[in-house]
Symmetry: C2
Subunit: 226 residues, 2 copies
């Protein structure tokens, strides 16, 4: 059986990516990160999703020491609400977390090499998250190049492959794809600023992108909003 490491946040994109990896026949080693994100409901969602989809193993790695300061997702900074689509897609968002996907993929690479597997899946998307530098195809290409230079396996002729199956899909297409693969999106979490009882705010950038995606997909979003 083929094996792959899959990064999973517990949102729509990484959940669909995990479903795609499993549908492609991979036994999946799933990796989530506790990096002091304010929306730690993500991690509970990741656990539910990994179990529901039948991941072979799920690890949550703690990233300590506040190394990821400087983002509205980790610091005590207001998450923007009710922004227009133009505002959401202009420039690098304040929810950008410095070098996050680089750190996440580095861990995935380390674990993949330990497991002896060379396929890594990441649910990045260049359309709805165009402001994030580490969600672009050129970032993936650069990391793949690095991975093959940085490792014993790479030197010995193995080729690491970073799979980003959602890179050019719209949110609506991602939701349709996940639905066809049997994903239960009620298990996922997207909101950057949920209420105390765990409901999504409906107005942060992430909620707005999610809701627009379900509208595009002509499907009902199964989660509760505040």
């Amino acid at each position: 059986m083929k094996h792959a490491v899959v990064l999973l946040s517990g949102g729509i994109d990484s959940t669909t990516t995990l479903a795609i990896a499993i549908a492609q026949g991979y036994a999946t080693y799933v990796l989530s990160f506790d990096y002091g994100q304010r929306h730690s409901l993500e991690l509970e969602a990741a656990r539910r999703v990994a179990k529901s989809l039948g991941a072979k193993e799920h690890r949550t790695v703690k990233i300590d020491n506040g190394i990821f300061g400087g983002s509205a997702l980790t610091d005590n900074v207001d998450v923007p609400k009710g922004r227009s689509e133009k505002e959401i897609t202009a420039g690098v968002p304040i929810t950008y977390v410095p070098a996050r996907n680089t750190v996440f993929l580095s861990y995935a690479l380390a674990w993949a090499e330990v497991l002896g597997t060379f396929d890594i899946f990441i649910g990045i998307n260049a359309l709805d998250y165009s402001g994030y530098p580490d969600c672009r195809p050129e970032f993936i290409t650069a990391f793949e190049n690095l991975a093959n230079l940085a490792t014993k396996s790479g030197v010995e002729g193995q080729r690491f492959r970073i799979h980003a199956p959602l890179i050019s899909l719209s949110k609506g297409e991602i939701i349709r794809c996940g639905t066809e693969l049997g994903v239960d999106f009620s298990l996922t979490h997207s909101c950057y600023d949920p209420t105390a009882d765990g409901r999504a705010c409906g107005r942060c950038d992430s909620c707005q992108i999610r809701r627009k995606g379900f509208r595009e997909a002509r499907l009902q979003d199964p989660i509760a909003y505040a």
Copy 2:
């Protein structure tokens, strides 16, 4: 004042690298990692060294979950002893830790971006550690390329620079350089398999490379051997 992030293990190379960064006028933000290495005396050495050389800040980041399994440095595998120079330099050593420098540099990149600094120093060396894929110049070039694609700062036109000032020096040259910069090598730790009372074994690859370096430099190694 210029600022830089410097990776510090507490061995000869990273200690000399820190001394070089300081001599070049950088205020230094020093980063060490607790990754379950068997020779945790390294971390004590790193703390002593950072203090002695006058680092501006020193953080030790814990890498959890045994993600770095598969190495004689982290697992319960015998560290090789008494190998010949030919054996030490042939192939990838069993003390190779999967993707270690990739993970370390990713953290350094995240911290650098949070600090608003674009200079990162790493004490890798392509001569004495020729078997480690992530100690080669092409690895550094690939990481620099990645850093500038992966980050908000890179997208906005800043250039991250990964400084590897020791990359083409011999161990003897590194020791002479450090000595000229006032490094107290009695504070450093190199051994992969120290005795219970903290003395270096003298026979692992790292001790052998260190001792050869001091011989080449025609200097006395100030540490105690078993």
